[in-house]
Structures are given as structure tokens and as C-alpha cells.
């Protein structure tokens, strides 16, 4: 019963220029789509589903890794808003009553989406079903959603409501039947897209745009006519009961009769084994260079760091007239790490969104991968103006075979870390989802068997509230002369990061190091609370979370985003980083790069009394981009950086 107010997306894909063919079968007849084709398809899918439904698509990311070429991951989510109370009742409370009609509304049922839920959690091979993917129709959804949220909800026409997602009506009816103690369904009454579906297909099909409601008998007439008038199909398929049984009939024949107790708790728990595996990578050889201009420019061009405006601008992020900190920001149109929007017109309150994932850290430590994802999602929120005490997070675990004890051990490690860091920051997990067995088992072009498991991936999404959205801060530099500060400590933590991955790719090895960034909740909390205060006092001109590619990338993005140069020194950073490479590219967590009007510098320093920070330098009017350590470390210019940053996007457009 909530109104959708924002869409989010995330695509984990193989490298788009990878054209090595993969086949699902030994005879090389079932060819897989190459990563570029998959990318184009999923971009289009979110375009169609999101734009058509009138929900702003605000937040998103693209992540590339070779190991996603067998099974890509596509995340899509929606933020909803619901009044706390509707008609004097708490809106989150719902309960189907015995005697209520079981009503399905929205789209019709077809063969699309049969085994969808199981498909997403089994290895992809030659036996994968072709009908597993649902066919979406956003307009049916929009009509349904409008009729429910804008009318039926306030008219108090139903006692309970559940979306038909995984498992179709078999799950929604069974879930709601729990509220009252039973249900009896007549499957022949379910509206079908075409005849001749088997009863079991009707029962489990995941055809989209359908909801199941518990409608009291005396309200059915009114409900039916409202739906009819809004062009929404509604149909009674049975009745909720208190019989303690879930009974399913088809054309007068009873085809299922199961105790509710068995239905919900009957599945015996499976025992799985874990066995942690020692991970040790070779440290890359680092040669001291004359300067690191070239390294910085190469890193900025990497698609995990560079801009993806070609995707952001295809998605309507202005509908509902809510967006304030947009997916693209500043003259240089950099992709923002957090977005701010106004979910309720007329209210000054803003909602803040962000997400983070570090699949490559998992090659070193699942624990730290998890910690860094949580820390980055929170830090992104804080940088834009969110409130630490009002952050909710959610998890998306995409893992590999659960029968692989080493992989399963990584999952356990990750779940434990989720608990530790969520409790540490006081940020509750408000929801989550998982998908296992993201393995591809097929054949390469010579017919040799090939197994590609995704890197275990934990996506953390975060949402927060700010009391006055006009105080939100965008990431790009604003004025020449502003002072640039780095908050937080920089350590030698390049392991699994973008810089080491780039070196490994260039050298053709797998030497990604071992010093993965670690999260210090206590220290970071102090920094985040200080930033919250700085933003509340309107002392910041810009604020950018330091993440992929480290300080060098944060500086580059802030500069090119504002189309302004900068002159900074990194010779005295707090933390244990020693070499220029470490200072530039280490991905140490808990860091935020801010710029401040010189007249506010003293006030800012006062608020930072218990936060480690460095005054790096200032924003400059010319377009020079200069970083010095003991000597000149980087010397380039903003137009060049802008070109590099947008190069990937321009090639994909």
C-alpha cells in the first residue's frame, strides 16, 4: 500500500569489450549473449520499466568484473512512502480475516516467470528454462498501483495486501493465509493470458503486475467497480478461512490440501558445511615513478571509476518533481554517490539514497568487503547531508554455490560482519534479499567445459532523511579560492582496490595485494557526526566521499565536476600511508573530501576538533590540476580529465 517515490538500479556486468563467446552446451549451439549485449538489454529494461511507471530513477551504479560475464547481476529496487496511519489504523498492520475474499488484481497469468525464483538461484547451464523470465508491462502496474494507493487505500477496501513476486499466488496466498489460519483457492477462476495452462503453472507463475488482496465480502462490490472503472482487472479466486489448511481446487477437483503448519514450517533444515580457505595474494611490485599523472589519468578512464552519464540521462529522474541532488551533478556532470529528493511535495524534508559494493575486496577478505560496503554506503549518505542516526540499510547477497564449503564460509563471514558493523553504526538492516548459485557452467569456443562463478557480491543500499533538503551538498568544487580539506586517515590499503586491479590487468597477473581497507567504526563515527554538523551549519561548499581509486579520484571528480582546477599537497596526511602511491590511490575508508569558503575555514577547523584531517590546498581558477607530495606528483588539467572521465560513457552512448 505504499506509493513508489524512487527507483534504484545496479548492474554487475562483464567487460563490455569482451567478445569471447560462451556456450551453454557442449555442441556449441546455445550461445550466450556477450556482456555488451547484456548491458544494452538491462539498461533498456530499466529504462522501459522505470520511465513508464512514473517513478524517478535516481540512484544507480555500474560495476564491471570479468567474472560477471557468465551470470550478470541486475539489481533494481523501489523506495516507497506510506503515511504512518491511514483511517486511524497503523498502515503497516495488515491481517486477512476468515471469510475475506481472496482477490487477485492487475495482470493476467501466463507461462512467463514459471520457476523464476528458483532460476535466479541455480547455476546457469544448458537446462535453464526459457520461460523463467517474466515479461513486464509497466502500464498495467501503473494503473493497478494508482487505483490501490490513490483510492482503495483511503477507502479502506481491503484487510491485507501482498505483491505477487517469487512463487506467484502460491506464495502470496500462503503468506496471507498465515494471518487468518487458512485459505481455499479455485484456480480455474484466475484470469489467464491464454488458455491451457496447467493448474500447477497457474499456482506458481510469476507473471508480473499482480497483487493479492483480502477483501471483506461486503466491500467487494465497491472494490470491483472501482477497479473496473480504473481499467484494472479484479477477480475473486477463493476465500480466506480459519480451517488450518491451505486447499487448492481446479475445476471442481481438490488438487492440494496441506496443513498450514506443514506448509510454513515443514521443510527440514538442510545442514551445509563451511571450510574457510586461506587467501594469499602476491603484492604487486611498485616502482617509484617520476610522477603519477599517467597513473591517475589511466585510473580515471577505468569504467568502475569513470562516469556513466549515458545511463543516467536515459532514466527519468525528474518525474514527481522531487529531485534535488541528481544522478549527475555540476558543470562536468559527474555521477553522484548519493542522491537527495523530496518525497512529499511541500515538505522541506529530503530523503537521501546511496549504495556501495566492493566485490574485489572479497578476493582478500569477505569480512572487510562487507565492512567497507556498509561504511561507504553510510559515508556517501553523510557526504550529501544525511543523518547518521536516521539511516536504514539493506543487504543484497549474491553468492555462489552453497555446496562449496569455502564459498559458504565467506558467506558466514560476511553475515557476521554485517551484524558487527550495522550494530557499530547503529544502522538497522530494514530489508534484504539473497540469490545463491550464481555460477555459470558451460563451454568455451573450443567446447572445453568452463565454470565461471561470480565474485561473492554484497550490495549495501542505504536510505536516510535530512530535515532541510536545501542544506544538501553536492560533490563538485564550487568557487576558486575555497580551501580543500581531507577528513579521516589514509593508510596503506591498496589491496583489492582499483589501482592494484589496474596494475594486475596491465601486467597480466593476479597480484592484487592483501592490504584491503579496514573499517574503524569509532573513528569514522566521529568524522561522520562532524560532517553532519558542518552541513547543518551550512559551512561546506562541496563534499565528496572518497571511495574507488582513493583520494586521487575524489580530487579529480570534484575538480572536473566543478570545472575548476586545484592545487593541493598530500605531504602531510593523517594515517600510516607513506608513499605517494599509497596517498593517491589507497582506498582507506572513513574519508570525506570537502571544500570550504576561506572565511569559514576557522569555524570548520573548530568543529573538526576530534577528527583527523589535513588542509590540502585550494580550488583554483585556472584549469590546472596539481598534486604535490615531497615533489610534484600529478600535473594535468581539467579539460583533459573531463574528457577522460566521460570517454567510457561517450563510447557506450
Amino acid at each position: 500500500g505504499a506509493k513508489p517515490v524512487a527507483n534504484v538500479y545496479g548492474f554487475c556486468l562483464g567487460e563490455p569489450d569482451d567478445t569471447r563467446p560462451l556456450y551453454r552446451d557442449k555442441n556449441l549451439t546455445q550461445k550466450m549473449f556477450p556482456p555488451k549485449r547484456i548491458m544494452d538489454g538491462v539498461i533498456k529494461g530499466v529504462n522501459h520499466g522505470g520511465n513508464t511507471s512514473g517513478i524517478p530513477t535516481l540512484s544507480g551504479f555500474l560495476k564491471f568484473d570479468d567474472r560477471y560475464r557468465g551470470k550478470p547481476l541486475v539489481f533494481a529496487g523501489t523506495v516507497g512512502i506510506i503515511p504512518r496511519k491511514i483511517n486511524d489504523k497503523f498502515s503497516h498492520e495488515k491481517s486477512a480475516q476468515p471469510g475475506d475474499y481472496i482477490v487477485v488484481v492487475g495482470g493476467r497469468v501466463g507461462r512467463d516467470g514459471i520457476h523464476g525464483a528458483t532460476f535466479s538461484s541455480v547455476a546457469m547451464d544448458s537446462g535453464s528454462p526459457a520461460t523463467a523470465v517474466q515479461i513486464g508491462d509497466p502500464i498495467t502496474q501503473k494503473k493497478l498501483s494508482d487505483a490501490i494507493i490513490k483510492e482503495a487505500r483511503i477507502m479502506d477496501l481491503y484487510n491485507s495486501i501482498t505483491d505477487n513476486g517469487a512463487g506467484g499466488i502460491s506464495c502470496s496466498v500462503a503468506e496471507m493465509a498465515k494471518e487468518c489460519g487458512g485459505a481455499e483457492v479455485h484456480l480455474e477462476r484466475v484470469p489467464l493470458k491464454y488458455p491451457e495452462l496447467q493448474p500447477w503453472e497457474i499456482w506458481i507463475s510469476e507473471s508480473q503486475e499482480r497483487m493479492t488482496l483480502a477483501v471483506p465480502k461486503k466491500k467487494w462490490d465497491l472494490f470491483y467497480h472501482l477497479m473496473k472503472n480504473r481499467g484494472v482487472e479484479a477477480c475473486v479466486i477463493g476465500e480466506f478461512t480459519d480451517s488450518g489448511k491451505c486447499v487448492v481446487n481446479y475445476a471442481g477437483k481438490k488438487i492440494m490440501d496441506i496443513d498450514m503448519e506443514f506448509l510454513h514450517n515443514g521443510l527440514p533444515k538442510e545442514k551445509l558445511k563451511t571450510k574457510p580457505k586461506e587467501k594469499n595474494h602476491i603484492e604487486p611490485e611498485l616502482k617509484e615513478k617520476k610522477n603519477y599523472t599517467e597513473d591517475l589519468e589511466e585510473l580515471l578512464a577505468i569504467n568502475n571509476v569513470s562516469g556513466f552519464s549515458f545511463v543516467s540521462e536515459q532514466y527519468d529522474h525528474e518525474v514527481q518533481a522531487s529531485s534535488v541532488l541528481k544522478p549527475l551533478s555540476g558543470e562536468g556532470r559527474i555521477n553522484t554517490d548519493a542522491q537527495v529528493f523530496r518525497p512529499v511535495l511541500g515538505s522541506p524534508k529530503g530523503a537521501v539514497l546511496s549504495s556501495a559494493l566492493y566485490p574485489s575486496y572479497g578476493d582478500i577478505s569477505s569480512h572487510h568487503m562487507t565492512a567497507c560496503a556498509i561504511d561507504t554506503a553510510i559515508r556517501n549518505i553523510i557526504s550529501a547531508g544525511g543523518t547518521l542516526s536516521q539511516i536504514g540499510i539493506l543487504d543484497n547477497f549474491c553468492w555462489c554455490s552453497s555446496y562449496d564449503p569455502a564459498r559458504l564460509a565467506e558467506l558466514v563471514e560476511s553475515v557476521q560482519a554485517c551484524h558487527k558493523y550495522a550494530v557499530g553504526y547503529g544502522t538497522p538492516f530494514i530489508s534484504g534479499k539473497d540469490s545463491m548459485f550464481n555460477d555459470f557452467k558451460g563451454y568455451d569456443e573450443s567446447g572445453n567445459p568452463i565454470h565461471i562463478a561470480i565474485p561473492p557480491t554484497l550490495l549495501i543500499s542505504a536510505i536516510s532523511v535530512m530535515s532541510d533538503l536545501r542544506k544538501c551538498v553536492s560533490p563538485e568544487f564550487k568557487n576558486s579560492g575555497d580551501k580543500i580539506f581531507l577528513l579521516g586517515e589514509t593508510h596503506s590499503e591498496l589491496g583489492g582496490g582499483e589501482y592494484f586491479k589496474m596494475l594486475a590487468r596491465k601486467e597480466g597477473n593476479k597480484n592484487i595485494g592483501n592490504n584491503v581497507p579496514k573499517v574503524d567504526v569509532k573513528k569514522n563515527t566521529k568524522t561522520y557526526l562532524a560532517v553532519e554538523k558542518l552541513i547543518a551549519s551550512e559551512l561546506l561548499e562541496s563534499s565528496i566521499s572518497v571511495n574507488f581509486g582513493g583520494l586521487a579520484m575524489a580530487l579529480a571528480k570534484a575538480s572536473l565536476g566543478g570545472n575548476l582546477g586545484c592545487k593541493v599537497s598530500i605531504s602531510a596526511l593523517p594515517g600510516k600511508a607513506k608513499t605517494t602511491i599509497e596517498k593517491l590511490f589507497s582506498e582507506s575508508q572513513g574519508r570525506i573530501l570537502i571544500s570550504v569558503n576561506p572565511s569559514n575555514a576557522n569555524k570548520v577547523i573548530k568543529i573538526l576538533s576530534d577528527v583527523p584531517f589535513a588542509l590540502l590546498g585550494e580550488v583554483t581558477k585556472d584549469n590546472k590540476f596539481i598534486i604535490t607530495d615531497e615533489k610534484l606528483a600529478v600535473n594535468t588539467n581539467v579539460p583533459k580529465l573531463t574528457k577522460i572521465y566521460h570517454d567510457f560513457s561517450n563510447r557506450m552512448r
Partner: protein, 265 residues
């Protein structure tokens, strides 16, 4: 309704009423209603089926708004199906409505709908870039209309896949002469700021919006309701201090419509 005669014998209406249409995938009705109310009007969202059931209700309103969205999913061409439904059931009422001292606006999908209704000339097709595009544009006001009083330039967002406006040369010349080209895309503040081309979709003669019925009917691809607050502009983050307390430029269009009835002219 509070009314008063003005000098030129027009009836002054202090709080004119606006009908914002909805249904079948239109999706900007809430913010469009909000913009009209922020401007001083009384706005109601009306589902097309409810209007069809009681067509006379149209005459309780001075202003009719076709908001943006994806009516019928654009599946049979943008705006076509909704326009046909409207025409089949409400053609007579629309004609009568247009005979009065009324205003009509069609925004984005609404523009596509009223073009298909035949009350605006020309047609809209796929963007020259081939893709749906969300960005901000600069507009130069070139038309004469109550909707555009006092506006010379305006910066608004677009978000559409079929916003390329096409019109035959001869008709264009006529419209230009009659000041019925509402806006053209120009290289202004935003396009310069973000280094973007002025014309986002390949529209002929850079047309972003058109007028008919002495400027009382306005159709435009950009979304003024998405620029009703200053902080919606991409320029806001840079010019926060300067823009403090300012309202969004888009609101001017809604205010003009309300003031058309409210003010003594």
C-alpha cells in the same frame, strides 16, 4: 466562486479552477496539481473515466491540464490512444470548452495527446538521438500567449523519448507569423553550464512548444512543474546563496494562467 467584473468586461476569478487529467499511465498529475495550487488555483485530479461518466463537469473549470506520463505505455505511439479515447467520448465537450475563455496546457505526454486530439498542429516523433533523454534545456519565448506573459527566457527539464517536433515549412511560417511558436530551444545558461547542445531531440526549427486558439492552448515538451522550486535546477548547488528564497522558473507559467483570471487587465 468569488468573481468580479474587470474593466474589459472579463469576469475576474480570484481562485480559478483547474482540472488535471489522470489515468491509463499519465503520471505527472500530482506535481502538476501542486504547481497550480502553489500558484493560487484550485486544482482537481480527475480520472478520464470519471470525466466520461459526467462530461458536464468540465464546465466547472477554467483551465484543463493534460499532464505528462506514458499514457497506454506509448504502445501505439505516444499520446494516440488517450487522445482517441478523449475524442470518442468528449469531443463535443472539448469544442464547447474551447469556445469559452478557457486555457489548456499539454505537457510532454500531454502535448503529444493534444497534438493527436487535433487542437495543435504538427506532430511528435522519436528523438533524433534515438534514446529517451532526461536533461535540462534553455528556452526562448517566441509566442504570444496568456501562459507566457512576461517571460523571455526560461530553463526547464525535459524527459522524453518522442519529443522531436515536426511541422511542414509552410505551416511553420504561418505559425511564426501568428506568434504561435511558444518556445524554441536555445543555447542558454544550462546548455552552456553543462556543455550540452541546445536542441535535445532534433525538433524542426528548434521548436519546444506551440500555441493555438489565440495562445490559450499551449503544448510543450519541457516540464515546467519540475522546475517549480529553485532547488530543482542543476544550477542551484552552485548558486545556492544567490537563489535563496527564489522560486523555480517553471512556476511562472502556472502563475500566468492563474493571473489570467485573477488580475484586472
Amino acid at each position: 466562486m468569488k468573481t468580479k467584473k474587470s474593466k474589459n468586461n472579463r469576469i475576474r476569478i480570484l481562485r480559478p479552477k483547474v482540472m488535471v487529467l489522470a489515468g491509463y499511465g499519465l503520471n505527472c498529475e500530482e506535481e502538476t496539481k501542486y504547481a497550480f495550487e502553489l500558484s493560487g488555483g484550485i486544482a482537481d485530479i480527475v480520472h478520464i473515466n470519471d470525466l466520461i461518466a459526467a462530461p458536464k463537469m468540465l464546465f466547472d473549470y477554467q483551465i484543463l491540464a493534460f499532464p505528462g506520463g506514458f499514457s497506454y505505455g506509448d504502445d501505439t505511439g505516444s499520446g494516440k490512444a488517450y487522445a482517441n479515447k478523449f475524442k470518442n467520448h468528449l469531443e463535443r465537450e472539448l469544442k464547447e470548452f474551447l469556445m469559452g475563455d478557457t486555457l489548456i496546457i499539454g505537457i510532454c505526454n500531454g502535448f503529444q495527446i493534444i497534438t493527436n486530439l487535433g487542437i495543435l498542429p504538427g506532430g511528435l516523433t522519436y528523438n533524433s538521438g534515438g534514446k529517451y533523454l532526461d536533461r535540462w534545456v534553455d528556452l526562448k519565448v517566441t509566442g504570444n500567449s496568456p501562459w507566457l506573459t512576461g517571460i523571455k527566457n526560461i530553463t526547464l527539464p525535459i524527459a522524453h523519448g518522442e519529443g522531436c517536433y515536426m511541422i511542414p515549412k509552410r505551416e511553420y511560417a504561418k505559425m511564426k507569423r501568428k506568434k504561435e511558436i511558444a518556445f524554441t530551444y536555445e543555447k542558454g545558461e544550462i546548455s552552456k553550464f553543462q556543455n550540452l547542445p541546445a536542441n535535445p531531440n532534433g525538433s524542426s526549427y528548434d521548436i519546444a512548444g506551440v500555441l493555438t486558439y489565440n495562445g490559450r492552448v499551449l503544448g510543450l515538451m519541457p516540464h515546467p512543474e519540475r522546475a517549480m522550486f529553485a532547488e530543482q535546477s542543476p544550477l542551484w548547488h552552485k548558486n545556492k546563496k544567490k537563489m535563496k528564497g527564489a522560486e523555480g522558473q517553471g512556476l511562472l507559467i502556472f502563475k500566468n494562467a492563474i493571473n489570467y483570471y485573477k488580475n484586472d487587465k
